[in-house]
């Protein structure tokens, strides 16, 4: 996903920072890998149709308005 990377960043102002690779919280780390697995499981569940429908309707309404 754009803008979200598990990379090491230098600790400078204005530069985004993530857990360092050796950190147990980094994606390959002991805890990081399990936290990721926890979310990955939920992320694989289907998005409820209601939410998709809502988004389609909002988009459609906006198109109609712009005509």
């Amino acid at each position: 996903m754009e803008g979200r990377h598990f990379v090491m960043a230098e600790e400078e102002p204005g530069v985004k920072s993530w857990p360092r690779p050796e950190d147990p919280l980094a994606p390959g780390g002991r805890i990081g890998a399990r936290l990721r697995a926890l979310y990955a499981a939920i992320e694989q569940e289907p998005i409820p149709a209601d939410v998709i429908d809502l988004l389609e309707k909002l988009d459609e309404a906006e198109r109609q308005q712009q005509k």
């Binding site: 805890i31 990721r36 694989q44 569940e45 998005i47």
Partner: protein
């Protein structure tokens, strides 16, 4: 030049799975997580002019969802204390199968953390945000996020090393079997 809405819709669709996982960790209940996501989609759409193209849409959506969740909590008052209970109640699920990582220890350990620390470590370790993005989402200083994450990480390590044996990494092929990780 062109109508910006198709890409806005597309970006929102792409963000929904991770947004929903975050909602699950806040509410601990699939029905309330889905309501929260739905409300977030609605709000985000009505204020899409306030989204700056080129900035991180995920962080923007997470902020809206989080603000919405906490303002609901404040209105309902009593349920604030219930958040921990709900998170814990969603734990007793998905008995591990052969070769499947048992995440129940991790979930039990997460449930023991103070909500602000749990939120911080999930935003960084599970959602994959930078410390700066997590600070933006929570409306606090980067140093605050780092210190919450540190405390959460230490506490998790403590709890998990005590609970011991089932401490191994994930096997990607086994993930579908975990598909009800938070759901109860």
């Amino acid at each position: 030049m062109t109508d910006p809405s198709p890409s806005f819709k597309k970006a929102m669709l792409a963000a929904l799975p991770s947004l929903r996982a975050f909602a699950m960790s806040l509410t601990g209940r699939p029905d309330r997580a889905d309501d929260l996501v739905q409300e977030t989609v609605m709000r985000a759409w009505t204020k899409q002019e306030s989204f700056q193209p080129g900035t991180n849409m995920d962080a923007w959506l997470f902020t809206i969802l989080r603000n919405n969740f906490y303002s609901q909590m404040r209105k309902r008052g009593r349920e604030v204390q219930d958040t921990d209970g709900a998170f814990t109640a969603s734990l007793g699920v998905a008995p591990p199968q052969d070769g499947v990582m048992d995440l129940s220890d991790l979930k039990a350990a997460l449930a023991k953390l103070p909500p602000d620390q749990r939120e911080a470590i999930l935003l960084i370790g599970a959602s994959g945000f930078s410390y700066e993005e997590a600070a933006e989402i929570c409306g606090c200083a980067v140093g605050t996020i780092k210190s919450r994450v540190n405390r959460a990480r230490n506490r998790l390590q403590e709890i998990l090393s005590v609970s011991g044996a089932s401490d191994y990494g994930p096997e990607p092929k086994s993930r579908p079997a975990l598909s009800r990780a938070f759901a109860g």
